[in-house]
Structure formats: C-alpha cells, structure tokens
Symmetry: C2
Subunit: 674 residues, 2 copies
C-alpha cells in the first residue's frame, strides 16, 4: 500500500547524521506546503481539526491520542512517569495526524524537540526545534496504516531477537549470587511456572565494572551459564554506559583512557561522572572506533555462553559530576554561614537534588565526530542509540549468523533496527499498566517491536491483583519481564500470593507463542505493526477511532486488558462481530460470539479477554510448555471465528539463525470454512 | 434507619481523647466478636469474602473500593499523590465492609494506624495500631447506608458554611497585591464569569506572619474587603500553623513565647521549625488556653470584614528544624572529606531531601495535655484538627450567630463538625480528577461534606481540556475552587483558551445551586451523604456495586463525569431507567430517557452528563447569576423525570445565620405527576 504515499524531505540548517532513515529521499527545494514554517525553521505549525487524532511519539506519557499535552524529546532517566512529565528515556520524533488527511511527520534531529499538541492552543500543533538543524520528513497517504508503513519502510527493518526471548523472564535488582539465581529457576521449575530468562542486574559485576563478573558471587560463570541453559534458562546480564575509574586494575578503563575513548569536557579532558560504579567515564559512542572497541567487549560474555544483554543508563544518566558536586558543596558552605531563609533552603535542596542529570553537565560534555568536536546538547538523544549500535555491531562481528538478544533503556529511531527497548523504570501503578498498553502501540509505529514494560511495575510495591492483571496484558508483549527495584515487595510469581492464577495466565503466553512469534516476524518483514489502535483498522468507525484501551494484536486478535483495580469486568467496543474468549488458562476458557457494538464483559482478576476477529484463525498450543524450547508448532489447535472461511500462514523458523524474510523460515498454512 | 444498627465500643489501652465521637457508648467488657484481636490489640484481623467491598478511609489514594492496597493514617504534607503513596493530609479511620454483612469500623486514635486491605493477602483485612491505645467502634446493620448513617450520628453533625461559600472561588499562589485581586474580579465580572470568592495565599501577609496584612501590597485592607464585598466577592485569606520568630516586632510571637504557648522539644524548650516564614514555632493546640488564644486572633481579620479562612500547613508540615539541619550540615562535612561513593552520595541526597517532615523531628515534639506532657507521635494526626477547632471555637465566640467559612488541609474525624477540608495540593493530572470524584464520596462517609479538590489541579500545568472537564465535575462539589501553584501555567478561566466553554459549564453551578445547597443542608441535618457510591442505593445490583466512576448526588441526580483525556464520551451504567441531560449550559442541553443497563454516552469536552433518577425533581435556576447573591429560589424550573409522580422539598435559608435544623429555614415544596 505504500506506493500510494508521498514522502518529502525538507532540510533545515545542517542536520547531524542520525542514520535513522535508511532510504535516500531527495531534498525538496521549495517551501514546506503542509505546515507553516516560522523563524527559519525553529517553529513548525499546523492547525488541528477537532476530529483529528495525533498518534505517535513512541515512548511518551499519556494516551494513544497525544493531543492536549506538551512532549519534549530529551532522553531522561526519570523514574517518576507521571502525567506531568514531558520526557522519558527515548526520543521518537514521529507523529501522525489522523484526520480527513493522514500526515506523518518525522523530525530527524538528535537535539531537543518540543511538541505542543493542542496544549497551549487546543487546535494547534506546534513543533519547536530550538537549534534549527533537522530533516523534516512529511508523509501523506490514504490511511494511517499506509503512512506508518511508509515511515517504517523509510527507517528500515526492525530488530529480530532469538525466539527464546519471547519467553518469560524473571528479574530483580538484583539476584546477587548464582545460588539466588538457582533458587529462582528451581522455584519456577518445581511449581511448573514457565521461565526462559533470568536477568542479572548490576550486582553480578565485579564492583559495577562492565564486562566483568564477580567471581565470588558467581564462581565459574561459564559453567553456571551452561548449567542454566541445560535448564532452558538464558542469563541476561546488564551492561551500563559508564566505565569505572579503576586505574591499573580494570583494562577497559585503562585502555579507554589511554586511547582517549571517553567523552571530553569543554577543556578537552575526559569528563568524569558518577554513576553506579562511582567515578566513571562515558565512552564516546559518536566515534566509530570507540563503538567497535566497546562492542567487541561483549565478546567476553558471549564466549562464556551469554546470548542476550540489556543496555542501561545510556541517556546517559549522570548521578553527579565531580565539578558540580564541588560547586554544590561550596554553595552549602555559603548556606551554612547564612541564617538560611526558606527560599535559600529550597535552593539548597534543589541544588542537591538537581545534581543528577544536570543540564549543566550535559552542556559541558563533548563528543568527537566526523564533523569534529561537538557539544553534547545538540546530539543528546542519540547517545543511547549509539551505545546500542556499538553492541549490535559487535554481535554482528562476533556471531554474524546468530541472533543475540539486546534491548536498551535509551533509544532514538534507528535503534529499532539494532535492538528492542524496555519501557524504563516504571512503577507498580495501575496507571502504568494502562500506559504500558498505550505506549506499546505508539512504539510499534516508531519501529520498536521488541518492547514491553516491567510487568508488575519496577518501583513501589505491587499488589497481587496488579501483578495478575499486568501479566494478563504482558503475555502478549514480545518482551515479557517481571522486574522490581531493590527494597520493594518481592514480586516473583512464586513469592506472591495468587501464584497459581499467575501461573495459569502465564501458560497462555506459551500457548499463544507460535502466533505471537509468527505475527512478530511478519510485522518485521512487512514493516507492519504488531499492536495497532482500532483507528488503524476501522478508520471509518468514529467510535473505534477514539478507543484508547483496546488494541488489535496481529491479524487475528483484539485485546481488551483490564487496567482498573477491583474491577469485575470492563466495557469493550466491538467495531464488528467478534468471538470472545474469556481465558483463565490455555485449557480453561469460555467462548461467546459478541455482536458489533458496546458490551460490558465480565473478567475476574484471573481471566483475560481475547477477541477473535471474524474469519481469522489463531493457532494455539497446549500451554503445557515451561520454556520456549518446549513450544512446538506441531499439533496446534486453531482458535477461530469463521463466518465464511479463513486462512492463516504461520511463520516459524529455528529461532536462532538470522533471517531476512519469510523465505528463510517455514510457513504452515491453515484453512477453515463453515 | 439507624435504630436497626448495633454499635459497640471496645477500648484498648488508654486512648487519647480525640472527641471524634460525640455520643456516649458504653464500653464492651467481653471479647471482640467481629474480628480476631492479636498481640493485645495491636492487630485486628478479618477475612474478606471475594464479593466484599471495603469503603471509607476518607482522604486517601486509589478508588472507592479500598481493597488491594495498604493505607497508613499519618497526616503528611506530600504533594505527589501517586498510587504508591500510603498517607495524605488527613486521617479518617472509618471503613465499612460491604458484603453479605455490613460492618463499619472506626479506630479512634490520633496515632498511626495501618490498614492492609487485601494488599498482603488478597482476602484479609489487617489493621495494625502500633501503640495499642484506641477505641474500636463496630457498627453492624442492614445496609451500608444505615451503617454510615449510624456512624455519622455518632460523630456529630457536619459543618455548615455560609451559602456564598457554595460559589466559585478563584485562587492562585498568590495574588500578590490588591490590584491583582481587582484584576481577577474585573476579568470575571466583565466576561460574565461567575465569582464569589478570591483566595489570598501566603503572600498577602506581612512576611508570612499569621494575622498580619502586608500593607504595601494591600493598603487599607478593611476598605478593600468592603470594596470586594460590594462586588459580591469574599476574600478568603490563608492562615498557617507556624508562628514566625520575630522578637519584638510581632506580638503573636512575643506573646506565644512569653506564655509558653509553643510546642516543646524533648528538653522542654520551644521547638523551632522552619516553614514559610522561616524560623517559626508551632502553637501547642493540644492546650485549650492556646486554642483560645490562637482562635481569638482571627478576630482581627473578622473585624476587617473577612468572613472565611483556610488553615494550612497543619499536619504540621515542617520544612526543616534547625537541629536536623545542623546534623545534615555536619554529615555533609564528612561526605566532603570522603571520596564519595555512589551509596554515600544517595545517602547525602536522601539526608537533604529528608529534612522535610522528618520522623525524627516529630519524635522530638512535645505537647502539654490534660494528661501531662506527651510525645507528638502518639497524637500526630490530631494536630490539624485542633488548629481547626481553635479557629472554629474562635468564630463561635466572635460571631456566635453567624457562619464563617473555614476549611483546613489537615484533619481528623471530628474536624468535620468545625470545618471543611480541601483535598490538598493535588496535580493537574487526569488521574487526580478521577481521584477527586472517588475521594469526595469517601470523605462524605467520614463526615466531611464541605470538600472539593483544587479544580484544574494545583501542581504541574493544566491543559485547557483538563480544566474544562474538571469543572464539569467540580461544579457539584460544595467547595469549588480553581487554584494553582506558583510557577505553573495560569489557570484562571479568563486566561485559559476555551474561556467561553468554561464559563458556560460554570453557569451550571449557579443554576443547580438551590438544589446543591438544599441537598447539602439535608445531608447535614440528617447525617446523610451528599455524594454516594451506587452500591449504597442499589445494594442488590451486582453491577452497580462495583461502579467506581459514577456517583449519586443528592436524592435526584446521578453524575458520570468524564475523567479521560481526549474522550468523546463515556460508558455509563444505569441501575434503573433515568433521564439523561447532556448539558452545555443552563439553557442549552439535550434530554433523553435511557433505559436501565449499559450505555455509551457521547459527551464532548464542553458537555456534562447529568442523570435524573425516576420520579425525582431537581429545581434548577436560569444560570444567569454571577454570584450566589444573585441566585434566587423563586421562579425555579423543575428538571424532572416523572414515571408516576414526584415531590421535592427544597430547603433554603438566609445562608448566613447559624441553623440547627430544617425548622430554621424555609421549605419550598414541589410536586409533579404524569
């Protein structure tokens, strides 16, 4: 359908090359026709019709329809994702106006971009690009689906993880020892709770040094990795952006310092920051030689049998810099001498809390690029993406034929080709479950298909019903991980009350896995969406267009997760007749045909609502599998709702080797008719 | 109906007299039959049935049904009311289990109480009273309505404000000068936006000193008060708990210090804290002489024509104490000497951010009570209530026959007899609009009828659509105030885009005012609820029982506010046939009879959904009034939905004089039949 879309590129100033776009689009020479351009490109303006929906922006707060708020692309490590925030960890500057016309806009710049979408003026979209250096892509087409598809083709094929990465992963900050990990695995296996991954957060390292293992806590790590693999469990260690300052005892540091691989300050000296390892340095990922050097370091862990990683702290997060800390200490000296009044007291508090991720530090950072040494601010949003690229290129060199799991916290469009992302340090809040639903579809539009939020929530304490409801949605997200912060209530399924109900819900993931994997791979091959707002499939249905809490999932299913505490069901809008499956486990569910229109559908906490669209088939396993290895595409049942006839092509492959298209896998064809 | 409820009182330890309960209930001598009592009264336990709903707890986070979270009664000045919080500004230890049996529980103690309502174990209610000194009231009865009514009769009649306090109030932290206030009034009057009150936040005072006026910013204050009154606008100044340390220049301080009226530290010296005025002292409201002294100080402002106040910072909020600040500064000295590692850095940050409302300071505070000098911790949750009592008793002495507006931030059950409360420093978040809806009904159960949240949200920035939707609910809350924090987006209606739509919605408040006032007064006289969950009126309707976002409002109306951004309507459950009014203004609305059951009801941002119950009448004005003075009870239209016949008794009075019951006012009787 993309042949019917028009793509135009306009260039303002001298854009920094982000490599987000992989196709060469000639630059327009005339004026921008679709928008009002003001102040030499600093402002782009567009009137919104009352009926227009604005989709997109990937990882951002609020709903599917982004109207009514101001969003700022400015990658930020802020764990308090409330409605009042403007920035999260990634910058995904693609949005789409879905009205009588469909207009996709991509502002390609790694600097700050401010999207005022009907916030200042209800009917105005106003985009501000303070430094005026960017490429503007304008895509117009006949449908939202076509516009997004065209955009996705522009930015290149999404990342493909190994198939085991579609399993259930258990995480905690942190499982501190090999024995703790063994306990996690044992508890899952003994209780029949499926498990494919255990995540290692920062404490597996020796003193938070990247690419090291604490050999007291994890003796003979390669054997341990192997032992876990025999249990069909992959260990997935974290890698942070910062390299610990540890002269003479840490070769990564020594080599990086010797070769000048670290980001500089304004005077050209390596810029010292404090992150988890204490005093550290940030690799200058803007240099290809640094990326190669860093990416090759993953090989050590690969050689120990590790086949998946998560990259963290790469906004980059800075707890503080020595320079700023000294300034704050000096200020505190002054405060101490004063008879501190309340305003000075608040200044004092703000100066201390403002040490983290300080704009002043970001302004001091310098990068060496092909265009010479440049300030960090103008390229801030690309740092995490380039760390991811360093890793991904390293994997391509180390094991060119094999997939490696990689997902990152920070990202920019383009990273979606190299890795997935998790949705950051969310909270055990019902509102964050809802945000998970909405953000996942928005991220899909921007190319990020391998994504998910920490199920149950990372920060704060999860209640058992929240975990249960969260799993009820997360069993459909490609990245399915239960993760929680140090000090919070333990939320491993087996430690929570309602273990059995969680286990049953989780078994559904493995029953749906052939379909999930097939739909994921098709979305990759076809530059399509795995999760879609109803507006995409039913553009002429005014009610469907505004649905914010139901999503289409692949070609056959509609999901309607319950995201409210103490609910016994929920309202669902059906844009056409569908078959409802109210599922408690892979072998325990009710079926009912519901007619187009509004329904209140009961759904107890241990039940999920899955709708099959008419004339669609969804292959479905037994749910007996306890790991992805045990999931077979043989002897699948077919969930279906046949009005006349339906067909489904199930894609599968070995799940490990790199593939380029459906021709590299196997298609199993199903058909049904009345 | 209360004659059918049983009330039992059990006493544990030596409860501090809170005076929350005004009726004398003999103490049971036997064991508690309704709950398992463990550890000498420290723990109360009860099994919850899956069907049980737990209502109550007044000012708390989360939904109407409190199941699935842990709530802690511990009055706290914390503006970040996220789902993960356990405490807000008030302690309202009444809850009601609504199942096959209806059980009301009131834990009467001013110390900490922890309510684990199906959070640790899904089917267990566990109440912990760490210090074991409390009265437990157990109310059992045939219905939730009856149990709450019995509880309300136990705690005494709710506060009655003047009728003008049911008007619209505009606030900002702060309108700094008389001219700024004049501008606010002028802009409302010129644009025909109704207005009854302008609030004065802390900056009207001279240097934040209670009971003073900054005479440069507000010259000739009494004349200014009069000038505003001529415009039918009441000025409502704030009074804070802390008294500024200002020796020789501030008589309140000098007198308080001389007479030993301030809270003491462990050594018996006046406890110095820092709040808005800088170094300050907290009046020891636990002493009757101090309350009398403080309460009499309001007279100065009353004499200037002021007739309403809000009491703030009375949890009490403490920004820091000198003692703790010195400790933190000393610690910082140590940190400076160290090569700060990350853990120490976080300790350093936490020690600075933890200066506010520190448990250590609360532990140091002492009060003089009839039982001698006692530690603050065991009576913490009563401090704000006693400040309110000081004010209310002062008003009773100063103007015994006249009502005075008073609402407070902090409260305890019992305060509801003396004043209203506002729902604290909320945020401009959609989730806080929803919380406003739910909290208002929960507060009604605990006796707080004069209540409302800052419409549009106090902290963070409001979008125009949020303000519009918020007003759509707040026009029904007795306290209706638009308030916002310094530095946030201005949210006066006339400064916001969509002024005209806001103005029209606001006119509905004045059109409904005769009904709102009548229903409010009846709820006071009858110990009833103004806002009720559907479960109270339709206890046998399983669907109605679980509705969390619709409320009955008085005897005739059901409200279904839209609390989602970018929604074009919402689902509504009707437990019986009702008449829908989709209202844009007092003279512009659609009518439609909707049948019992589920409906998706369109409601654009400038429309509100009001449902009339069958055979109910709601008197309704023209909406032309621009102040409550202009609201007449003559020539009212009748909104009604008559299936057979209906009657309504409209209560009214002069709105100023104290009244004891309906006999002190006028009843206008309306009847309609088919």
């Amino acid at each position: 359908m993309n042949q019917t879309c028009a793509v135009k590129r306009y260039t303002f100033g001298t854009p920094f090359p982000t490599h987000a776009v992989v196709r060469s689009i000639p630059c327009e020479t005339g004026e921008v026709q679709e928008m009002l351009v003001r102040d030499e490109g600093r402002i782009l303006q567009l009137l919104l019709d009352a009926e227009d929906i604005v989709f997109g922006l990937g990882e951002q707060v609020r709903g599917l329809n982004k109207r009514g708020w101001k969003y700022i692309s400015n990658n930020t490590d802020d764990p308090n994702h409330t409605e009042g925030k403007h920035s999260l960890y990634g910058s995904h500057n693609f949005l789409m106006i879905d009205g009588i016309e469909k207009i996709g806009l991509f502002i390609d710049t790694p600097g700050k971009v401010i999207f005022d979408i009907g916030y200042s003026m209800s009917e105005q979209l106003r985009i501000e690009i303070p430094d005026r250096n960017y490429d503007l892509y304008v895509i117009t087409g006949p449908s939202s689906e076509a516009v997004v598809h065209t955009f996705r083709a522009l930015i290149g094929r999404s990342y493909i993880p190994p198939r085991w990465a579609f399993g259930y992963g258990q995480s905690r900050w942190s499982y501190e020892t090999a024995d703790e990990v063994r306990e996690v695995v044992r508890e899952h296996r003994e209780r029949g709770i499926p498990l494919d991954m255990v995540y290692l957060d920062i404490d597996y390292m020796d003193d938070y040094k990247d690419f090291t293992i604490d050999s007291e806590k994890f003796p003979d790590f390669p054997s341990f990795v192997q032992e876990m693999k025999e249990q069909q469990v992959h260990l997935v260690p974290i890698i942070d952006a910062g390299i610990k300052k540890a002269e003479g005892t840490y070769s990564v540091y020594d080599e990086g310092m010797e070769k000048g691989y670290f980001c500089k300050d304004a005077e050209g000296k390596p810029f010292e920051v404090a992150v988890w390892p204490g005093r550290s340095y940030l690799p200058d990922f803007f240099r290809e030689d640094v990326r190669t050097w860093f990416g090759d370091h993953y090989r050590g862990l690969l050689d120990m049998g590790i086949d998946g990683f998560w990259n963290d702290m790469n906004e980059p997060a800075i707890f503080y810099s020595d320079k700023r800390l000294k300034e704050v200490f000096a200020k505190i000296e002054e405060y101490k001498k004063q008879n501190l009044d309340v305003n000075s007291f608040f200044e004092f508090q703000a100066s201390v809390s403002g040490l983290a991720n300080s704009p002043e530090d970001y302004r001091s950072l310098r990068h060496d690029t092909e265009a010479g040494r440049i300030g960090h601010e103008s390229v801030h949003n690309l740092y995490g993406a380039l760390m991811t690229k360093a890793a991904a290129d390293g994997f391509r060199r180390a094991r060119p034929d094999t997939r490696t799991l990689m997902f990152s916290r920070s990202s920019y469009i383009g990273s979606h080709r190299d890795a997935g992302i998790w949705q950051g340090d969310n909270m055990s809040w019902w509102s964050h479950l809802k945000m998970n639903v909405q953000m996942t579809a928005s991220l899909n539009m921007c190319g990020f298909l391998y994504t998910g939020a920490d199920a149950g929530g990372f920060g704060d304490d999860a209640s058992p019903d929240l975990l249960l409801r969260w799993l009820g949605f997360a069993v459909f997200t490609p990245l399915l991980r239960n993760h929680s912060v140090r000090g919070s209530r333990r939320q491993e399924i087996w430690r929570m009350v309602r273990t059995e109900e969680c286990r049953q819900i989780l078994s559904l993931r493995y029953a749906f896995l052939p379909y999930i994997y097939s739909e994921y791979m098709k979305a990759v091959f076809e530059d399509g969406l795995l999760f879609r707002p109803l507006a995409f499939a039913y553009p002429d249905d005014a009610r469907a267009r505004h649905v914010e809490d139901q999503l289409l999932f692949g070609e056959g299913l509609m999901l309607a997760p319950v995201v409210e505490q103490n609910a016994w069901g929920r309202y669902v809008y059906l844009p056409e007749d569908m078959k409802l499956l109210r599922m408690r486990s892979a072998c325990d569910y009710d079926e009912e045909i519901l007619q187009k229109g509004d329904h209140w559908v009961p759904a107890m906490e241990h039940e999920i609502l899955v709708f099959i669209r008419p004339d669609r088939i969804v292959p479905f396993g037994s749910g007996e599998a306890r790991s992805t290895e045990q999931v077979s595409t043989e002897e699948l049942r077919l969930l279906s709702y046949i009005k006349t006839k339906a067909a489904y092509d199930l894609y599968t492959d070995d799940g490990v080797k790199n593939v380029q298209g459906p021709e590299d896998g196997i298609i199993i064809h199903y058909e049904q008719s009345v």
